[in-house]
Symmetry: C2
Subunit: 346 residues, 2 copies
DNA sequence: CGACAATATTTACATACGTAAAAAAGGGAG
DNA sequence: CTCCCTTTTTTACGTATGTAAATATTGTCG
């Protein structure tokens, strides 16, 4: 019942009586071959088990048809959603996607970069680690092949093709909203290794200054180094609440995962953040983490347009692969706007 | 400042004055080469930019050193955590991991399987889609190379090497607990496409029968087909609560993501599930989804030992790759026990 | 200084397929 | 039936590296 297995195109060509070069062309683009021959090949193929060798095919094509993707970690639905969009878009464009995860480790990230170089990948999409990314390797990679940065942009490589959210605009939305309808917010941040969180912090500071409010930043020192966003948010805020601080203020978190921890801290102290109460506790985040609609209370946040970012990143990379001009002095930067998601928590 | 780039080992050998076969051996295992030569090679390597070609190296090694991993979808922290363990373990064992995500689509899953065949991957780890997985391709793959199933086991391929949680035991824990300290639970399930959810349902039914309680199963028909677990749980329970049903019962959900939706429905109806109240609403799940400690109230659930599962799966696969005997009639099945995580919701 | 062992080099072939050029075969129109 | 065009086959070489066998080199010890 199991079909005879064939390992090489050579064998296949004798098995079904079609020459090897014809088979080679068939596997690359069947339309270049006469319909009757295609039918003969496919009839033969149905009788046996054969898959062209991936390595041999990629070894001497001019283009490998592979897009490499590097993401910093997996245990975050944000990257997961982004990756999903990227993979679907790349697949639709006819590319094979190979994803490597840095697992928060610069060494693993560098290894992934080397792997992609050794694969002569057509291009790479990189969502960098925070400020720990190995700048040299990133630089090498970007010199060597089409390279588009996604999600966040290290301060060490400003002049690079980039696709992401316009954090000034998007975080600005939530700062503005909180200031407008209630108490000016306290910023609950993170240790300063995450570029987006840093940008949120500076946006917060700038806007508070503009509006003439006194800024308050907490949480930029870690209380525990487990490094989980939620645990960090909970620990910081629990500590504050225990000291009676900020219990009726607006807490604006650097991102939703921190905010989820903040919600937990509020709950533990018997507080229910919400926008209905005047002057009471409010909690808000940023990103529109997929679980935000299901938290208690549902989290008010700013949505990032993952789909647009993923698609734009792939589409720009494909342009570069197809030889689009890169203005080295002024690389293309695509920033997408965020949009406010008003729910219950603020 | 940028080093001269070298593309082939041939060029490299003339550039640093060491023969190509020696270089080849160096890149595979530097210890097989005399220390002084290694030093000479590395000194030379520091002067240039060179990475051995991935495809050429894998083309004619007997072993490619690659482990393929297929997971059904990414937007679930469960798989993400499992994948993390698998990648780290495989890396530690000296393998390159290539992960392909099915994105809930049997066709994409089948394509991934074909990709791995064409790569002559050393072995594959597969977390299957539900009952939609293409059984033929899975079969082909398992015939062709070392193959270990992870997380869930299709009823269509019972006789396969498998590593996962002992769901009878683990789901039994929570059924038993709920029955023991309160009202026997209602089972909030899912459309029957997910093997683990199915097994949870049957475990529930069996244990309720054993204990002489009347079982109640809800949610096995989808109200909306967006297919998101949380939305499903919320929609089903919201519907029930709106009709005044089960408002003071124990709701045991097929998994934590459904339970998170259930918590949300409870909250919308002004109900606070918890174990402190006698006779009141309780909600519990299964998996110990990473966000469980941060829900309101914190979700009582059963922890799956991701780390053990990931490590065991890799370790078993490596055994098979190294030629371990496979008893076709009785493949090795490793089931790990779950453990109760009592928190606030039940 | 010579012999022996360890290591490196030379040479040659293999991997599975891409691809170009020339020759052969097929197919339709006149 | 023949000519011409299209398609396939034949032939041959290229891709970057693995690998084996024979030969050459190096280093060490007596």
């Amino acid at each position: 019942m199991s079909k005879p297995r064939i390992n090489t195109m050579e064998e296949l060509s004798v098995a079904i009586g079609v020459s090897r070069p014809t088979l080679s062309r068939y596997f690359q683009d069947p339309t270049r071959i006469k319909a009757t021959t295609v039918a003969r090949i496919e009839a033969g193929l149905a009788q046996v088990e054969y898959v062209p060798n991936f390595f041999a095919t990629r070894l001497n094509r001019k283009s490998t048809g592979i897009i490499g993707v590097i993401i910093p970690y997996l245990n975050d639905l944000f990257f997961t959603k982004l990756l999903e969009q990227i993979e679907m878009a790349a697949m639709a464009a006819g590319y094979t996607v190979i994803t490597q995860c840095s697992h928060s480790d610069p060494e693993i990230e560098a290894r992934a970069a080397r792997t992609f170089m050794s694969m002569s990948v057509d291009g790479v999409l990189v969502a960098p680690l925070g400020d720990q990314s190995d700048a040299d390797i990133q630089e090498q990679l970007s010199q060597r092949m089409p390279f588009v940065l996604v999600d966040s942009r290290p301060t060490t490589m400003p002049a690079v093709e980039y696709v992401g959210t316009d954090h000034e605009q998007s975080f600005g939305l939530i700062v503005e909203y909180l200031c407008r309808v209630g108490e000016p917010p306290v910023f609950l941040g993170m240790p300063r290794v995450n570029f987006n969180a840093n940008q949120h912090e500076s946006t917060y500071l700038r806007m508070m200054a503009e509006k003439g409010f006194e800024p308050t930043v907490i949480g930029t020192e870690a209380l525990d180094d487990r490094g989980h966003f939620e645990a960090h948010g909970e620990a910081i805020l629990d500590d504050c609440f225990s000291r009676g601080l900020y219990m009726d203020r607006s807490i604006l978190c650097a991102n939703d995962r921190v905010a989820i921890g903040a919600l937990r801290a509020a709950m533990r102290h018997g507080l229910t953040p919400g926008r209905s109460q005047d002057g009471g506790l409010r909690i808000a985040g940023h990103d529109d983490y997929p679980l935000c609609p299901f938290t208690t209370p549902a989290l008010t946040t700013v949505e990032q347009d993952f789909e647009a970012i993923g698609k734009a990143a792939v589409s720009r990379l494909v342009q570069l692969i197809n030889g689009a001009e890169i203005n080295a002095a002024k690389p293309q930067v695509q920033l997408f706007k965020g949009s406010l998601r008003l729910r219950e928590s603020a």
